[in-house]
Chain length 529, copies 2
């Protein structure tokens, strides 16, 4: 991480806990008010008297900007500083924000005699009653939220240390109208789950749903962290893989929720890959007409793709994802530590969606990826954090512009027309989704060039990158006629006619393209031969 920023009301203990935490972490401690006093040569109360609250707030914002640019430290900020949106944005950028809370009577007890504080001149209880509600609403948006009542400063510092993520956070806003939320990318994020759920209004039982093998690897720390945030939990094991996405599995899940008494104050936490996310998303959308959903994806594919956008899907015998809704999660925690244990083939296949996002929408990310095959192979945490966040940002932007998939969102289907058709023609499970998409991307790129939309160099650059990331290993053996038949049955086809997403250059694509079928035949033959 960069900084640990402590926020909280006057009397919550920031300037006592701060130095203890800084010592434990081996970093400097900065009290923002003290820094303002030193830099201005005047006490806070004097600044208030001379320049009014507005004058003080301007100095506070300026000092915050300077401190945030310094080396990593523990920073305690004044109780009112988080209220300004610009300050809040600055405090959160890459940092971990920790809120210390206390009951009003605890605060009052600690503040007795603090008459030098300018905002307490009306008297301590009156000031608390006036200021606390609006501030609490903001503090509760922090990454970590700790109650300090009845706990020593040392105990609070120790609890913070235990709960901190490892290293910096990347944040990606998903500004879907009326359902905005955030993707947080980082390492060891389990303690962010409880505050995120509480912020979404959850007060009841949090059902941590996963398949048995993922649960065995990752559920325990998450469960403990959610309970430490004061929420009840229940664990539910979904069947492994696509079996989780059947009507039968969903019905069993409903029965479990009924038995566990999960009401509208409850929530579902989806811990797993795309299938777990899909099943949990559908159940969260439909249980009691919708309960909050927190996505904690454990695969690279789910992190950069399926967890974002709210789409969920259940399979019928007649086809995949025929049943589903669009239900936005209240948050997404991409914990990179989960990727360490991901099997090699699944990990490698996931890069297809990352490369897809870059080539349709982000030249810069494409350049980063071009230099990154080696850190990708070694699963380097810093590289992963940066690339995952950039990929999530592309999807977040497209989804926010088109939440109900009425237009632009189709661009994300680049490579998927042939990709899905290959999966269907070969039988699901024969190719990993990403492997199929990589082949589909090559067909789509070839078709883009063949239809005069982009130069051949684009096709070659994409092919090179897919190969560098371990994809396009060996062409699947499939009868092209079966691929064409599957394409025409795809649910995205309109009256049996396929609309293509095609490249116009690296970082640029267009959707809804119609191309002559002979060109499709030629591209399929050229790529899959």
């Amino acid at each position: 991480m960069n900084h640990v920023v402590l926020v909280g009301f006057m009397g919550s203990g920031k300037s006592t806990v701060g130095p203890l935490l800084a010592e434990r972490l081996g970093r400097p401690f900065t009290d923002l008010d003290a820094r303002i006093e030193r830099e201005s040569g005047a006490a806070v109360a004097e600044i208030f008297a001379r320049e009014g609250e507005a004058g003080f707030r301007a100095r506070e914002s300026a000092a915050l900007t300077r401190v945030m640019a310094e080396e990593p430290q523990v920073v305690a900020v004044g109780g009112g500083a988080p209220l300004a949106d610009e300050n809040w944005r600055r405090m959160r950028e890459a940092n971990v924000v920790v809120a210390l809370l206390a009951e009003p009577q605890t605060l009052a007890g600690r503040l007795q005699g603090s008459l030098h504080r300018p905002l307490l001149r009306e008297g301590v209880p009156a000031a608390i009653e006036r200021l606390l509600p609006a501030r609490l609403a903001r503090y509760r948006e922090a990454d970590l939220v700790l109650d300090t009542d009845g706990r020593s400063a040392a105990a609070v510092a120790s609890a913070i240390q235990d709960a901190l993520p490892d290293g910096a956070l990347h944040r990606v806003a998903v500004p879907v109208h009326g359902r905005g939320h955030e993707v947080v990318v980082g390492r060891r994020l389990q303690h962010l789950a409880g505050p995120a759920l509480r912020h979404a209004g959850v007060q009841g039982t949090v059902v941590i749903a996963s398949d048995a093998s993922i649960a065995a690897q990752h559920a325990a720390p998450l469960k403990a962290a959610v309970e430490a945030a004061g929420l009840r939990t229940a664990c539910y094991a979904l069947p492994a893989g696509e079996t989780a996405k059947t009507i039968g599995a969903v019905t069993d899940f409903y029965r479990f929720l009924a038995g566990a008494g999960v009401d509208r104050q409850g929530a579902i936490l989806a811990l797993g890959g795309g299938a777990v996310g899909d099943a949990c998303g559908f159940v969260a959308a439909t249980w009691l007409r919708g309960v909050p959903l927190l996505q904690v994806p454990t695969t690279l594919l789910a992190m950069v793709d399926s967890s974002i956008g709210g789409k969920n899907g259940i399979n019928l015998e007649d086809g995949k994802n025929l049943v589903g809704t669009i239900h936005q999660p209240c948050g997404i925690l991409d914990d990179i530590t989960h990727l360490a244990t991901l099997p090699d083939r699944a990990y490698r296949a996931s890069w297809a969606e990352v490369i897809k996002s870059a080539i349709i929408a982000d030249t810069n990310l494409f350049d980063v990826l071009a230099r990154g095959a080696s850190p990708a192979r070694s699963r380097d945490g810093e590289y992963l954090g940066r690339v995952i966040a950039a990929t999530c940002a592309i999807k977040a932007r497209v989804v926010a512009a088109d939440p109900f998939e009425a237009g632009e969102r189709a661009i994300l289907n680049y490579g998927h027309t042939v990709g899905h058709a290959l999966e269907a023609a070969l039988g699901y499970g024969s190719l990993a989704h990403g492997e199929a998409v990589a082949w589909g991307m090559q067909v789509a790129a070839d078709l883009s060039w063949r239809s005069g939309r982009c130069p051949e160099s684009v096709v070659r650059a994409q092919e090179q990158m897919l190969r560098d990331y371990g994809l396009l290993d060996r062409p699947p053996r499939v009868d092209p006629a079966r691929v064409f038949a599957a394409m025409r049955h795809d649910k995205k086809a309109q009256d049996g006619e396929v609309r293509w997403v095609l490249l116009t250059g690296i970082g640029h694509a267009e959707y809804g393209c119609r191309v002559p079928f002979e060109d499709v035949e030629r591209s399929v033959a050229a790529v899959l031969a």
Copy 2:
């Protein structure tokens, strides 16, 4: 109806078709442009030249207002008149608006030589290209939309006559944010279904879903009318009653949709009572992540209550409506002719929800109901139209203010706390829902009086009205302890504590009320003894 208003582009045939239709209907015909010319003593072209388009539009609005206040007639209005929202509102109020469409080349052919029309001075093809798109968007919102290409004026007039509803329409807007739609109340509304679906973007297969007995009574004319609007249809029979609301029935429905190839251009038309509406609502919300839903309720209860608000629900063995979503319909057609064949007990029970709506929110409606027991008993069409529209308006207002049931919408649960508990304690089906709600309303009213919120006269007035409408016939024989137990298990209870909706007077209620349990015991004893 009051008027039949013909709208359409210049050349669509309004002034040819209008007199023929008027003759068939035995009413006067008014051409609004001719009326303006007569009243102003100047040709339209002269008014345009002298006063500009704005001057003409002001005269047009004024003339429209006057004509709409006259005796029922067939009125043809100028092609641009519907564009002003205020004109559009006036044309639609209680009237049937019929749009005549034609292909641009048909219009161009009919308009050759019409050089006196001021908007055609730029040349016919140019004027059509400039004006038609915006106007078409408005024309397509009409109640009936007819293509006139290749049809004689007589044939068009005959087709309109065949498609017209019987009598006036009542319209109730449901202004849910981003998903606004309308309830239309009237007689013989089947021909409104096709245009409503097309306006919602439907181009594919419309699945008319119903149970077998309702389908036998009402599906044929609806199917024919939807097909006459150029849409494909498929009919699906749900199991009767609550059986339609099971996971098994929903899965069968999905399989049918897959087999029928219903894609995102398709829609579901729910023809039936509350159970059909619930099952269809859930399936429409979840098929391919949501397809449009048109509600055509066939019971009084579904018309005034369950079809409005978008709530749907599926039952589990563990409880009713545990699974569901909130998915707003694209329209609701309350065709009163469907009520003629409704069994007596179901019809009578439905009045509980009507009386509930009045007593919680509408003093005027309460007065209307107080004088209406006799026309209600004889199922008088005019009385039903008026009362259904007023009841829908109450629900529409509450739902629009609180689409996701976060607060105020709770007021609609008046009488339902004890009502649901009675249904559960006696076993579902023993009492009709409305019968149980009527008893619940009496307990809630007694409790309102007992807790000092309203005078006893309110309790007596409600009781009198419920009895006048054939409710509160004989108290159900039930152990109060079982009622209390069921109340605590209701999904609206918070941590086992019941929050009540109580009256503060006729037409006024408040929600979230807490009352001492002893008072509840006394009220239950007093009412159910």
